[in-house]
Every structure is written in structure tokens, then in C-alpha cells.
């Protein structure tokens, strides 16, 4: 089980827990605003953009090559950006903080 905290565009934060699937699916299943996942999680739409808290980046890892390319279509992408459909839930992620991109 991993507890993940999402900070949404209005500045509020919500901690949710999950153990399988992707972080995008976890966010959608809890109705986290700003995480749409329009393509269903196949790295095709760039609507699940999050900024990983810098201290948590070693847990999530960096964006893959295709993810980096797709992030160029997202606004405000930086070195902490991930498309969270590409982050698999695991216990290693417990406690991380993700800021939903605007």
C-alpha cells in the first residue's frame, strides 16, 4: 500500500492510498481534479501531468524518453514533471507528494 499526496491547482492537498495500477488510475478513481487521463493511460494525451516533489524524484524516477517528448505538449513542464500514467504504484512510492500541473 502506498499513500500519495496530490496538491491540486487550488492549493489544497489530498492523500489517497492504492496498491496496484498506475498513479493516474489512482488519481482518477479518487476524482483528483486536473488529472484527466483522456487516453486511458497509454502515454498518448499528456493530461495526467504532475510535478514530483524534488525530494521524491528518486522514488518515482525520471520521465522516460517518450514521456519527455509528450511532456513538450504540456504547459509548464520542468525537470520534475511526469505523466503519472507512466508511474506504477508500489510500496516504494509511499509518502510521495505530487503537484497537479495547471
Amino acid at each position: 500500500m502506498a499513500k500519495i499526496t496530490f496538491i491540486t491547482a487550488d492549493g489544497s492537498s489530498r492523500a489517497v492510498e492504492g496498491h496496484t495500477g498506475s498513479v493516474m488510475e489512482l488519481a482518477v478513481s479518487h476524482g483528483i481534479p486536473g488529472i484527466d487521463g483522456d487516453c486511458g493511460g497509454v502515454c498518448s494525451c499528456a493530461t495526467c501531468h504532475v510535478h514530483v516533489a524534488p525530494e521524491d524524484l528518486d522514488k518515482t524516477g525520471q520521465a522516460s524518453e517518450i514521456e519527455k517528448d509528450m511532456l513538450e505538449l504540456a504547459d509548464g513542464a520542468d525537470e520534475f514533471s511526469r505523466l503519472c500514467c507512466q508511474i506504477s504504484l508500489s510500496e516504494d512510492l509511499d509518502g510521495i507528494q505530487l503537484r497537479v500541473a495547471k
Partner: protein, 426 residues
């Protein structure tokens, strides 16, 4: 347009798939205070359709639907879900709809997100009890899965080599079935891509063991002692244990048509997704709209079109001055190949290949020097830059596009005088 006072109004959405569901949530986001009701004949909580032909099918008993929104979020946004219900008719004068449980529902705004149905052509010999399927809904996939059961060495024939047909072929082949694709035209994907891409996908499937039969028009299906026999126009016979039709769709426009709306080629909408009736909007696969970028009427079957039209209709209903003006994009995953398409290539007079590797390349389509579309195969960077260039409408130099020594950010066509400083941010 004036902002609408909505607290005493009712908005009814017919169709709860990508378009309808996204519309409902967008309408709340835009500030709709009144009642909001989503109706769909499909009993499943609304789900993503693209995975149906891919992971949902191939994971068999472990497969679970990928829901568009969590169930509790509908309640949180005060969106009423009325699933497993069919809408029979619209009374535009009374502003009511009639449902198949005999009830009537009044509306102030009605949104048709009725999508399309898989089309199964009339074929001689086809009987209801044959293992013959089509694929549009979760229920369709479950029926195919039941047919497959533990016998994953069955012979599957896919009729139609479009995206659904080829995605199905890849999934079934990966599951161990012996797959044949029967295509009526001289190439697969003939309606949706240019010849170069058709040939690539044909070879991709053949190298994965799928048999592709082109120029084959199915004329008859008959039962044999061991399964089914499919006869084609030129006399060929193909044996099958199961058959899936992927020959296209028919727009679900009956409701709109019966209500007297213009449905030639799709439910006609203006740039704000409104039909000729001020209180009825239509969004998604079922609509026909005039596309500004390509200066022609289009009916698009895609997640992009569904989501973007949903947002436009929601804003328009709340009185915002919006216009649907999106560049179409699309994707397809087959085996380990990701195809990403942006723009529409129809009508191109020049196609430039940018080849990074055998399984990583992009095709750039031009008409009279103007970029029309980019198809990218395992080349997300080409897709991303194609999108940027299409949005900017800046003229490109096709020679640079095809030259791997030139970076994606340096494709602009420049006068000679600026040629030494050709790197420009788009």
C-alpha cells in the same frame, strides 16, 4: 450571449461515453447549477473504449474496465447516472425525451452524445447463433472472451483491416490465436492512412504471424463440421472458429433524425456544437462539423474529438463565446508499436519520410507546401513537433523534414537571407 441562470434548469445527456461523461463534468466546471442527467443503454459504469480491443480483451478473466470517472465522483458533482436505459424519442416541442421504461424526462438543454454502433453487413448465410462478433462495447468483448475460453489456439478471422480490426488482430495473435484479416480494399487502413503506412502495418502484422488477405470481399458464411467457412467474391474459402467484424460504424443518429434534425453524414452541428435546435447540442463520434483547419465537413471518431467537443458544448451552453477549432489527433497501439497521428493527411500531394530506424519513423504530409498531417511510428518527438508546426501554420522546408541531420526544431522554411540562423522556437 448572456450568462444563463441555471439553477432551475435541467440538462439531459444521451450517451455516457467519452463525450457525454466529459461534457457532464465540464458543464459543472463551467458553473451549471441545475439538474444534470446522464443516460446510456450500456449498463456498465462509463469506461474508456480504446483499451477494449487491446488490454481489456487480452487480459481475459483478469481484465477490468478502465472507468472514465470513479463512481463516487458522479455523486460528488451531483450528476445523475441513468444506465441501462434507452432513449426512444425526443419531443422537441414539449422539450421531453421518452425512455424505454415508459417514463418521460423534461429537459431545458439536451445533449446528444449517442456515438456510433459497429456495423455488421448483411452476408449470405450469416445466422444469429454463429460465433460471429463485432466490437464496440465491453459486452462485445466479454462475448468474444467467452468464445475463446481456454481454447486460445482457435482460428480467428477479422473482417476489415481498419484500426479496430488490426488492433484486434494484434491482441488475438498475442493471445495465441491463429489470425487472418480479410480486407476488401487493396491495402489495410485504406480509409484512414496513406499507402506508406498501410504497407508498414501490413508487414508488421505479417511478421507477427497474422495472415493478411487483400482484395477479399466476403460474400458468404457457412457452418462446417469443424467451424465456419468464409467464402469471398473470387472464390476463396477461409476457415474460422470465430469471426469478428471490424468494417466500420454507423452513427447513432436515429433519435436526432426522428426529431427532424439534419443528420446527413452525422448530426450536423455548428462551431459551438449546437444543432439547428437552439436547445439541442451534439458531441463526439455522432457529429458532423465544419473544420476550420481543413475547410471541410468532418465526422471524427476519436477520443480527442469527443473530449474537445464536450468542453466546447459545455462552455457554449453557459453562454460563453467558444468555437471548436481543434486539430485532430489519434493513436493506435499494436504489438510494441505506437502510432500517433496529428492532422488529417487526405488530399496530400507530397509525403516526406523521416526515418530514424525500421520501427521508428514519421511521415509528413504536405499540400501545396502546407503541412497537413504527421503520422509518427514509435516517434513521439515527431508527433509533438508535428503538433506544434500544425498549430503555428508556419511553412516548413520538406527537405529539412526528411534530413536526419536537421533537428525537429529547425524545419522552418526561411528566405535565403535568414538561412544561416534557421533555428526558431515555434
Amino acid at each position: 450571449m448572456e450568462a444563463l441562470e441555471t439553477s432551475k434548469l435541467t440538462c439531459v445527456v444521451v450517451g455516457a461515453s467519452h463525450a457525454g461523461v466529459n461534457f457532464a463534468f465540464a458543464l459543472r466546471k463551467e458553473g451549471w447549477q441545475g439538474q444534470l442527467i446522464l443516460i446510456d443503454a450500456d449498463p456498465d459504469l462509463p469506461y474508456h473504449r480504446p483499451p477494449l480491443s487491446k488490454t481489456y480483451l487480452s487480459q481475459m478473466e483478469e481484465s477490468s474496465l478502465s472507468y472514465l470517472k470513479a463512481e463516487e465522483t458522479y455523486a460528488r458533482e451531483n450528476i445523475q447516472l441513468n444506465l441501462g436505459r434507452r432513449v426512444l424519442s425526443i419531443d422537441r416541442e414539449a422539450r421531453t425525451i421518452q425512455l424505454d421504461d415508459g417514463t418521460e424526462q423534461a429537459y431545458d438543454k439536451l445533449v446528444l452524445a449517442t456515438g456510433a454502433s459497429a456495423w455488421v453487413p448483411e452476408v449470405a448465410g450469416l445466422e444469429a447463433d454463429m460465433p460471429v462478433f463485432s466490437l464496440r462495447n465491453a459486452g462485445d468483448v466479454r462475448r468474444i472472451q467467452v468464445q475463446i475460453g481456454k481454447k486460445t489456439d482457435q482460428r480467428a478471422v477479422i473482417v476489415g483491416g481498419g484500426f479496430i480490426g488490426l488492433e484486434l488482430a494484434a491482441s488475438l495473435q498475442n493471445m495465441g490465436l491463429r489470425v487472418t484479416v480479410l480486407e476488401r480494399e487493396e491495402r489495410v487502413l485504406s480509409r484512414v492512412t496513406a499507402p506508406d503506412l498501410s504497407h508498414y502495418f501490413q508487414k508488421l502484422h505479417q511478421s507477427n504471424g497474422v495472415e493478411i488477405l487483400l482484395n477479399q470481399e466476403l460474400t458468404r458464411i457457412q457452418k462446417t463440421e469443424t467451424g465456419l467457412l468464409l467464402k469471398t467474391k473470387d472464390g476463396r474459402g477461409v476457415e474460422a472458429d470465430l469471426v469478428v467484424f471490424g468494417v466500420g460504424i454507423r452513427v447513432n443518429a436515429q433519435l436526432a433524425q426522428q426529431a427532424g434534425l439534419d443528420v446527413s453524414g452525422g448530426i450536423a452541428v455548428d462551431t459551438s456544437c449546437r444543432t439547428e435546435d437552439d436547445d439541442i447540442y451534439a458531441i463526439g463520434d455522432c457529429t458532423l462539423h465544419f473544420n476550420r483547419h481543413y475547410q471541410r465537413y468532418l465526422r471524427l471518431e476519436s477520443v480527442q474529438n469527443a473530449v474537445d467537443q464536450a468542453k466546447v458544448a459545455a462552455a457554449a451552453i453557459l453562454g460563453k463565446d467558444v468555437a471548436y477549432d481543434a486539430i485532430p489527433w489519434f493513436w493506435s497501439d499494436q504489438y510494441d508499436v505506437k502510432l500517433q497521428m496529428v492532422g488529417l493527411s487526405q488530399g496530400f500531394d507530397r509525403c516526406v519520410l523521416r526515418s530514424e530506424a525500421e520501427h521508428s519513423f514519421s511521415l509528413w504530409y504536405f499540400k501545396a507546401g502546407q503541412l497537413l498531417a504527421v503520422d509518427a511510428v514509435n516517434a513521439a518527438k515527431a508527433y509533438v513537433w508535428g503538433t506544434k508546426y500544425l498549430k503555428s501554420q508556419a511553412p516548413l522546408d520538406p527537405v529539412k523534414v526528411g534530413d536526419l541531420a536537421v533537428d525537429y526544431n529547425s524545419f522552418l522554411l526561411l528566405p535565403e537571407s535568414q538561412a544561416n540562423n534557421s533555428q526558431i522556437e515555434v
